[in-house]
């Protein structure tokens, strides 16, 4: 199974910087930006990465990075959208986690956000042993 077959001819994956299963979840503090990372297979193991950032506050600076591409944007209004694109190559039979990151600056405050997608073959699951405990619970044990 190679990366191209996994990704499909036009497989667009979307992941937000924060994924939550509940509307009322009490979430951790974040950077004032929402990220989406899309991937598109270009064939022969090549993939195009599209990182889109939408600010949730006015910012002095926004630095986006995906693949080998890094770009800084300055003086952004709340709700501004910025996009960068990059290419990555995944060898046949291999896999890689690709990331899109943002560093925001407002006044003296810096924060960062990350979103990631796995491309290609995932690493094997770690072997574990499930131990039934006397109270009916299960412990999943890793040994080295």
């Amino acid at each position: 199974m190679n990366a191209t077959r996994l990704a499909g001819p036009l497989c667009v994956l979307l992941l937000s910087a924060c994924q939550h299963s509940s509307e009322r979840a009490e979430r951790k503090p974040t950077a004032p930006v929402k990220l989406t990372l899309e991937t598109r297979s270009l064939g022969n193991g090549d993939h195009e990465l599209t990182l889109t950032a939408t600010t949730t506050a006015a910012l002095d600076s926004l630095v986006l990075k995906t693949g080998e591409i890094v770009k800084e944007f300055t003086t952004l209004e709340n709700g501004a959208t910025r996009t960068i694109r990059a290419r990555v190559h995944i060898r046949d039979g291999e896999g890689q986690e690709v990331t899109g990151t943002a560093r925001t600056v407002k006044g003296e405050r810096q924060r960062s956000a990350v979103t990631a997608i796995w491309l290609g073959v995932k690493p094997p699951e770690q072997p574990t042993t499930v131990i039934p405990l006397p109270d009916g619970e299960k412990a999943e044990e890793v040994r080295e």
């Binding site: 509940s22 009490e26 979430r27 999943e140 044990e141 040994r143």
Partner: protein, 559 residues
């Protein structure tokens, strides 16, 4: 009667397991510890199952009854004479002037003092108070865990044959060998204690995990790995791959001493599980995808009379972070126990595994934490403690937060209060003003002591930044009320945190701002609980953050 008791006590002496004096406090008296005890006048020592007890009896096994001036008392001891002292697990009854008291002690005589965890009843003039103490006679006072031993924790510890246990806030040591006993894990009720030397096998050692501490920096990052003790986790002897032979809890220094029975030479190993079933540490760390508890197994060894097995939970196993998450829970729950006398916080489940991508958030007594290498929160102590702070709100205080995304921009006052409080809780737990959230590029950090965020929401109902809340709380709970940079202490932190259970939990709020708990209500509670002596200092703080608090707390308005 006394003769019968003496006979029974002596007969049971060899079987007695010598335990820690577990009494922490109030309410009921009577009952005794699991020290060798007995019965008649001037008789000391006594075994399990001893009944009755004469005047002046000292100690007491798992017995019933108790004479005048009886001291000590065993597990499940019932009855208790005048001036009885000590108290065992599940002790019931208690005579006049009974003192001490064990876990689950019930009853209690006139003027009973002391009392164990979950003590109920209590005679007239009872003083002290156990965790969850209920009832109480005329003149009964307070309750709590004022005599906890923070460094030791609730599990006790063994060092060779020497048992360390807590008595009235002092770590006390007892050489079990002097009674021809061993120091080892006894039971869930007694934890580490002096136990009878038997033909069982014993394995001991220390369990550690590879920790990576967050760096205090605006660019985030983690320090190099260093081992920390796995404290309070379950540690088991496993035969083959899945058969549990015996289970204990690790002590606060990560040590354990386990007794087990197996065929000599059988292949066994030590497995440590990220869970505690103690009421004071009702914590578990589970995988987010299948509910299984995190566990790590050590090397195989052959069952033999005595063995030493140290276990280090490695980073490469993808389990070390689960034990770091567990340790943050222990830190928070022990603090609640030791400083706010909360012995049994609502149980908390923390969910994490490598590559868990379900976000980091708290909901309904559960915390989910990110696990991808790109944004792994398993070592982000302040992130973990921030989410535990939300649990604390739920468990002992009140939150009306609508939830939702938040950075440092002004948001709904209820959301800002809940988030700012939780960040302050995290910082105070670590006694450091640095918050950090690491990721693949280092992450970010922020120092809350010297920073000054300002409110520009207009009225008290206006949107506010959570950073205003965190910074104001941090300054309010400084060790002194001055402009100089100060760190919080346990006492100053407790004075501010106490507003949650003692005011916000039950008070009828003024709701001069947004309906529901927000910074205004906290400040009201601060003045209600701490008087108006700090009016000038709080005015300095609210002015610094341009927050228009009206200083009109119910029955505690500033002049």
């Amino acid at each position: 009667m006394n003769r019968l008791f003496i006979i029974a006590a002596l007969a049971a002496l060899s079987a007695c397991e010598c335990g820690k004096p577990t009494g922490n406090n109030t309410g009921g008296g009577g009952g005794g510890l699991v020290f060798p005890s007995g019965g008649g006048s001037a008789i000391s020592g006594g075994g399990t199952g001893a009944t009755g007890g004469g005047n002046g009896a000292v100690g007491g096994g798992d017995g019933t009854g108790g004479g005048t001036s009886a001291t000590g008392g065993g597990t499940s001891a019932t009855g208790g004479g005048t001036s009885a002292t000590g108290g065992g697990t599940s002790a019931t009854g208690g005579g006049t002037s009974a003192t001490g008291g064990g876990t689950s002690a019930t009853g209690g005589g006139t003027s009973a003092t002391g009392g164990g965890t979950s003590a109920t009843g209590g005679g007239a003039n009872a003083t002290g108070g156990g965790t969850n103490a209920t009832g109480g006679g005329t003149g009964a006072t307070d309750g709590g865990v004022s005599n906890a031993c923070p460094g030791l924790g609730p599990v006790n510890a063994c060092a060779g044959s020497v048992l360390s246990y807590c008595v009235n806030g002092t770590v006390t040591q007892l050489d079990c060998a002097t009674a021809s006993q061993s120091c080892a894990f006894s039971s869930a009720a007694n934890q580490y204690a002096c136990v009878a030397s038997t033909s069982q096998f014993i394995v001991s050692g220390t369990v550690t995990y590879e920790d990576r501490a967050p760096i205090a920096s605006e660019n985030g990052g983690l320090a190099s790995s260093a081992p920390l003790p796995v404290r309070g986790a379950e540690v088991s002897v496993i035969q083959g791959t899945t058969t549990v032979l015996a289970t204990a809890n690790t002590a606060n220094d990560g040590s354990y001493v386990l007794r087990y029975t197996a065929t000599a030479g059988a292949t066994v190993h030590i497995s440590v599980t990220a869970r505690s079933q103690l009421a004071a540490r009702a914590l578990s760390v589970r995988r987010a995808n299948n509910n299984n508890l995190h566990a790590f197994g050590g090397a195989d060894f052959s069952a033999t009379a005595t063995a030493t097995q140290n276990v280090e939970v490695t980073y490469s196993s993808n389990e070390a972070e689960a034990f770091n998450i567990f340790d943050q829970g222990i830190l928070a729950f022990d603090w609640l126990h030791d400083r706010l006398n909360i012995a049994a916080p609502t149980a908390l489940t923390l969910r994490w595994h490598r590559n868990n991508n379900d976000g980091t958030y708290y909901q309904d007594n559960e915390i989910f934490l990110l696990g991808p290498l790109s944004d792994d929160d398993g070592y982000d102590d302040t992130v973990i403690l921030h989410e535990i702070g939300h649990h604390i709100e739920d468990a002992i205080g009140r939150s009306d937060s609508p939830g939702g995304d938040h950075a440092f921009e002004p948001v709904d006052p209820r959301l800002a209060w809940s988030e700012g409080f939780s960040t302050w809780f995290a910082l105070s737990m670590r006694k450091s003003p640095w918050y950090s959230d690491t990721d693949v590029n280092g992450g970010w950090g922020w120092e809350y002591d010297d920073s000054v965020s300002t409110f520009d929401g207009g009225t008290l109902a206006g949107d506010i930044s959570e950073d205003v809340v965190t910074e104001l709380l941090w300054d309010l709970s400084d060790t002194d009320q001055s402009e100089t940079s100060q760190l919080v202490t346990d006492d100053s932190f407790a004075a501010a945190l106490r507003v949650q259970p003692d005011y916000l939990r039950t008070a009828t709020l003024r709701n001069v701002g947004t309906p529901g708990v927000d910074l205004v209500d906290f400040l009201d509670g601060w003045f209600v609980l701490n008087t108006t002596s700090s009016c000038t200092w709080v005015e300095t703080l609210t002015t610094r953050h341009t927050f228009p608090y009206d200083f009109n707390a119910p029955n505690a308005a500033c002049p």
